[in-house]
Structures are given as structure tokens and as C-alpha cells.
């Protein structure tokens, strides 16, 4: 079974090797790396966490859909845990007979990953603050949420 999540540094060469073949002449890749700024603030480092079993299931669905739609071989890997500035957080590699399919499928996979795959990012800023990325914005997913210290809730 393919593991889409890893705590190790991403190895682009390994992903390339897993999709290359003599029939596939066009290979498009995307690497998302940790930037030193976000929303105008200086980022020191960050930590990705995930709902692991669902990441595996959802990535498998995204890859299967795209491989079938574009006749491509696709490798996808997301790193979680603590990452430094410049570290690669996500890698997508798509090999197809022609470059058009490879580019379109590669773009599609990263967009779908961002839209559907349950991974979260907590950024540590130079001013000492820490924030879950995406949780401040009052976007379609809702109201304002702020990080609070835990309390011992219970139900049932």
C-alpha cells in the first residue's frame, strides 16, 4: 500500500523513479516548500498535522481519479511534523505520454489535495505568536476560531 504521508524529508528522485517509464515522455512536478513569510508576517518554522487514515484514503482517490482521467502515473507525498523554512512539504510528480496531460494532471492533483485532504499547519511567527493557518479567516468554512488552551471536556 502506498503511503502518502511521511515524517521524513521528501525524496523527489524516488518519486520520479516510481512513475517514469519508456512510454511516458512528459513529467510535470510540483514541490511546495515552507516560505519565510505568510500574511505579511515572518514565519520561523511550522508544524503539519493530519488525520492520517483519511489522508491515505483521500489521496488514493485523488490519484486514482487523475491517473484514469489523464492516462498518467502519479506520485504524491505530503510531509508532516516539524518543518523548517525551505523544507518541501508536498511533492506531486506526474508522468504521461505528453506534456499537456502531465501539466494539467499535476495542477489538478495539488489543487484537489488542498481542497480535500485533511492536513493542518500551525505556524510559529517571529513575534512569538503561533497560529493554525486558515482558522482566522471567516471563509466559507465559517466563523472565527482562535486557539485556546485545552480543557477537559467529556460527553456521552
Amino acid at each position: 500500500m502506498t503511503l502518502y504521508l511521511t515524517e521524513s524529508p521528501l525524496d523527489l528522485g524516488e518519486l520520479l523513479a516510481s512513475v517514469q517509464s519508456p512510454e511516458r515522455g512528459g513529467i510535470a512536478c510540483f514541490l511546495g516548500t515552507v516560505r519565510n513569510h505568510h500574511g505579511g508576517r515572518e514565519v520561523l518554522r511550522l508544524e503539519y498535522s493530519a488525520y492520517g487514515p483519511m489522508v491515505e484514503a483521500e489521496c488514493a482517490r485523488i490519484v486514482a481519479e487523475a491517473e484514469s482521467r489523464w492516462q498518467a502515473a502519479i506520485a504524491l507525498r505530503h510531509r508532516i511534523g516539524r518543518l523548517k523554512i525551505g523544507d518541501a512539504a508536498v511533492a506531486v510528480v506526474v508522468a504521461s505520454a505528453h506534456r499537456d496531460e502531465a501539466f494539467v494532471a499535476c495542477r489538478h492533483v495539488i489543487e484537489e489535495l488542498k481542497r480535500r485532504v485533511p492536513i493542518w499547519k500551525r505556524e510559529v511567527y517571529a513575534d512569538g505568536s503561533v497560529e493554525w493557518v486558515g482558522s482566522r479567516a471567516a471563509g466559507q468554512q465559517g466563523s472565527e476560531l482562535r486557539v485556546t488552551a485545552g480543557f477537559g471536556g467529556e460527553t456521552s
Binding site: 511546495g32 503539519y48 498535522s49 493530519a50 488525520y51 487514515p53 483519511m54 484514503a57 483521500e58 505530503h78 512539504a89 508536498v90 495539488i110 489535495l113 488542498k114 481542497r115 480535500r116 485532504v117 485533511p118 492536513i119 493542518w120 499547519k121 500551525r122 493554525w132 493557518v133 486558515g134 482558522s135 479567516a137 471563509g139 468554512q141 465559517g142 466563523s143 472565527e144 476560531l145 482562535r146 486557539v147 485556546t148 488552551a149 485545552g150 480543557f151 477537559g152 471536556g153 467529556e154 460527553t155 456521552s156
Partner: protein, 88 residues
């Protein structure tokens, strides 16, 4: 529990990232009276301390698949309430 009620169903609820911080726990077993939907679980969560901060329509996944809030629940389901995604 009244003997006339349908047997309660138990659902495992998972919270992540900012939602786990806000409600103060990452998982809970909830007992619900059938028929129950994802929305019923969200209502239960909203009644807890910090639960008022959940957005009107949070992303939810039932047994590892995205679902809407009117999806029906069965005993043994795993329901995850997902804060805004930030992968990539």
C-alpha cells in the same frame, strides 16, 4: 434509557487542530438516539464549552469520506470534524 426508545447508537467523534484546541479534546464517544445525522453531532458539540466557536457548517468526514451535515449515522461510525484544511 426508556425501554420504548430505539437502541442508542454510538459514534466516535474526532476533532483536529484548532477544533481540538477549542473544545479541549481530540476524540469522544457520543451516544445518540436514532435516527441521527452528522448535524445532530454538531449540535451536541456546540452545546459544550468552546463549541459555540464551531462554524455554522464545518467540514465533516464520515468513515474517511467527506459528507454533508444531513448524512445519517450508523452505530460504530467514525465522524471527523475538520477545521479549514491547510495542506500543500
Amino acid at each position: 434509557m426508556p425501554s420504548t426508545a430505539a437502541p442508542a447508537l454510538t459514534v466516535r467523534v474526532l476533532l483536529f487542530a484548532s477544533y481540538a484546541d477549542t473544545l479541549g479534546f481530540a476524540s469522544v464517544e457520543l451516544r445518540l438516539t436514532p435516527p441521527a445525522t452528522v448535524g445532530d453531532v454538531l449540535d451536541r458539540l456546540r452545546a459544550l464549552p468552546g463549541g459555540e466557536r464551531l462554524p455554522p457548517k464545518p467540514l465533516c468526514a464520515l468513515n474517511l469520506t467527506h459528507v454533508s451535515s444531513d448524512t445519517a449515522l450508523s452505530g460504530g461510525d467514525e465522524l471527523a470534524v475538520l477545521p479549514p484544511l491547510a495542506g500543500g
